[in-house]
């Protein structure tokens, strides 16, 4: 689990050290070690219930770890209550105050900090500008649309100029178009304000578009930490490969230097750190399967069994003679029933060590 060196991020802001969290004896987070740099956009990505929110709440101070430490700017903050942490949160369901109007919601933190009236007015004003909500000051929360509420929630958090902003699936309630817009806006905002973002999502596309670093989690355990490109192209295990984007996962055997065998054929590849005859998992992205109308042009031959138009590309399923089903994303279409030729470029073949978990190893 290495992390990339990112040039645009600074010194360490937050560090989670061996965090372990149990609820009533059930482990929810295990051996969590994570370092988040200043100005970094980190995304926690994983399926529902994998502990993303819990991790965020531990950083925010709403939950305490069973064991392990939370460091903030080098200092241990385990026992610092939430209201004293220089962290602000955009909650999953916004948690806007229903008894206060838009202005007062955003001004809440500033009033608590006893800023003077003029400063409050100016800051709320510029926060509203940032989220493009000028003119909504007097509106009640109930009168806002979901997207507007979400903007207010963001304004309410950033107006306090926190060092770290925690965002728990803030875009989950929005429709696709607004969601894409807000993704860009948030990303711009983060660059503009120079705040560290810890962003929770279970949408892998969102994670890839927005983040400097993606943290992929499963059942309370970090699977991989890396840049979006790194996580996409070099998944450390089947779970990550499967969760980030679509992928075809095959059993294979490493033959010799830069040569691998799977689906009954030999393929040149670029991975080198495997032993001869080692069993491996082969990951191929559907968009990396090159297809040809003439079966003879491909290394493998398969019969198209389904075609779905997806907008930019076609999603096809094709079956080889040995019964393996391949998912293919291609801008060209082959009709159902046609036999096509398939080939894969060496650097699009990604090999992974066989996962060694218990009794399954002996079976093969």
């Amino acid at each position: 689990m290495t992390r990339d060196n990112l040039s645009n991020v600074g010194a360490e802001m937050i560090r989670l050290v061996d965090i372990h969290k149990e609820f009533d004896g059930v482990t929810v987070l295990d051996r969590i070690n994570l370092s988040i740099a200043k100005n970094e956009f980190v995304t926690l990505l994983g399926p529902s219930g994998c502990g993303k929110t819990t991790m965020l709440r531990i950083i925010g101070g709403f939950e305490s770890a069973t064991t392990g430490d939370v460091l903030f700017d080098g200092e241990r903050i385990n026992d610092i209550p939430a209201y004293q942490r220089k962290v602000n949160t955009v909650f999953q369901r916004y948690a806007l105050f229903p008894h206060l109007n838009v202005f007062e919601n955003i001004a809440f933190g500033l009033r608590i900090a006893k800023k003077d009236v003029k400063e409050i007015r100016d800051k709320v004003q510029s926060a509203l500008e940032l989220v493009e909500m000028l003119g909504f000051e007097k509106r009640t929360i109930q009168s806002l649309s979901g997207g507007q509420q979400q903007r207010v929630a963001i304004a309410r958090a950033v107006v306090n100029e926190p060092k770290v902003l925690l965002l728990d699936e803030p875009l989950a309630a929005l429709d696709l178009k607004l969601r894409k817009e807000m993704q860009l806006e948030l990303k711009n905002m983060q660059k503009q304000l120079g705040i560290t973002f810890v962003f929770v999502t279970h949408d892998q596309e969102e994670a890839l578009t927005m983040s400097d670093t993606v943290v992929v989690m499963k059942e309370g355990i970090i699977q991989q930490i890396g840049s979006p490109i790194n996580v996409y192209n070099e998944p450390t295990n089947i779970f990550v490969a499967d969760f980030i984007g679509e992928s075809i996962i095959l059993e294979g055997r490493y033959l010799e230097h830069c040569m691998v065998e799977f689906a009954g054929q030999k393929f040149p590849c670029v991975d080198i750190d495997f032993a001869p005859m080692e069993q491996v998992d082969v990951v191929i992205r559907p968009e990396d399967v090159d297809i040809a109308d003439d079966p003879a042009e491909g290394v493998l031959q398969a019969k198209v069994s389904s075609v779905v138009f997806k907008g930019v590309h076609y999603e096809m399923l094709a079956e080889t003679d040995d019964g393996l089903e391949w998912m293919i994303h291609s801008t060209t279409m082959a009709p159902i029933g046609q036999v096509i030729g398939m080939s894969i470029k060496p650097d699009n073949i990604h090999l992974m060590k066989k996962e060694t978990k218990g009794p399954e190893v002996t079976a093969s």
């Binding site: 209201y83 909650f91 105050f97 008894h99 206060l100 608590i112």
Partner: protein
């Protein structure tokens, strides 16, 4: 437009049990007793005599005092209930409700025997050489009776509102730097005001109309408007005056309820 026939039973019920009695009371209050339909304002004029005004004023005062006392006692109890773990919550509520199943008069009589001159409290005081103090038959005893009997009416509406309060709002306040006290003052309390208002209404109304509590613990020397009305109906048989008092009492309650519903809780914003 189609009429909703399901509403009819309710309308009939309303007319039979609410409208008719009120109209009857109103009729008695503006007619000479036994005089057929001859109208008079004499009953109302009597209400405004100083003697009776002082009784009305005293009733309002005591009801206010007991409402405030119920609020001060009830709010923390409601908070404790709402914040205790679900399993405990049930038993705590049962603990709270069971005394309410006991007859109202029996409960109030119990206080009588506790506070009597040779009652339990004075027996204790006697042991340490104090007293006996006369604890009964004063305003304090009556307020105590009201608070004891009506405090659940304050606790439950507040408890219900606090239970429904989204805990993430408290977390949001904390997240924005509010310590527990400030997050209570700026979020929890303002959001619980609807509960407080219905609690206040539900305590103030029976307090201002009670006659049993003031009769038992006030010993008949402590007349409230409820006692006055009861006397007119059951002892002096002056139904006209009693009805006028009832109508005035109703107006007082309507005004106080109107005042409370006018204060729109959500628009006002935080208290501080």
């Amino acid at each position: 437009m189609k009429r909703n026939w399901l509403l009819y039973p309710y309308v009939v019920w309303m007319i039979l049990f609410t409208v008719v009695p009120i109209l009857l009371v109103f009729y008695y209050s503006v007619t000479v007793q036994g005089g057929g339909f001859s109208l008079t304002m004499a009953h109302y004029a009597r209400v405004f005599e100083p003697l009776y005004m002082s009784v009305i004023w005293r009733s309002i005062q005591l009801a206010l005092v007991s409402t405030i006392a119920c609020f001060i006692l009830g709010y923390p109890v409601a908070m404790i209930l709402a914040n205790s773990p679900d399993k405990q919550q049930f038993s705590l509520i049962v603990l709270f409700v069971v005394p309410m199943w006991m007859n109202f008069l029996a409960r109030t009589y119990a206080w009588l025997s506790i506070m009597e001159n040779n009652g339990i409290i004075n027996a204790f005081l006697g042991l340490i050489g104090v007293g006996p103090l006369s604890l009964l038959y004063n305003a304090g005893a009556v307020v105590l009776g009201m608070v004891y009997n009506y405090v659940p009416f304050m606790v439950f509406p507040i408890y219900t509102v606090l239970r429904k309060l989204d805990p993430s709002l408290i977390e949001a306040a904390e997240d924005l730097g509010a310590n527990p006290v400030r997050s209570f003052l700026k979020v929890t309390f303002p959001l619980s005001l609807p509960g407080v208002l219905s609690g206040v209404t539900m305590v103030f109304m029976p307090s201002v109309t009670t006659f049993a509590i003031s009769q038992l613990l006030g010993g008949g020397q402590f007349t409230l408007i409820g006692n006055l009305i009861e006397q007119q109906y059951l002892r002096t048989y002056d139904w006209g005056f009693g009805s006028a008092l009832s109508i005035i009492l109703m107006i007082i309650i309507l005004i106080s309820m109107g005042l409370m519903s006018r204060s729109n809780v959500y628009e006002e914003g935080g208290l501080i």
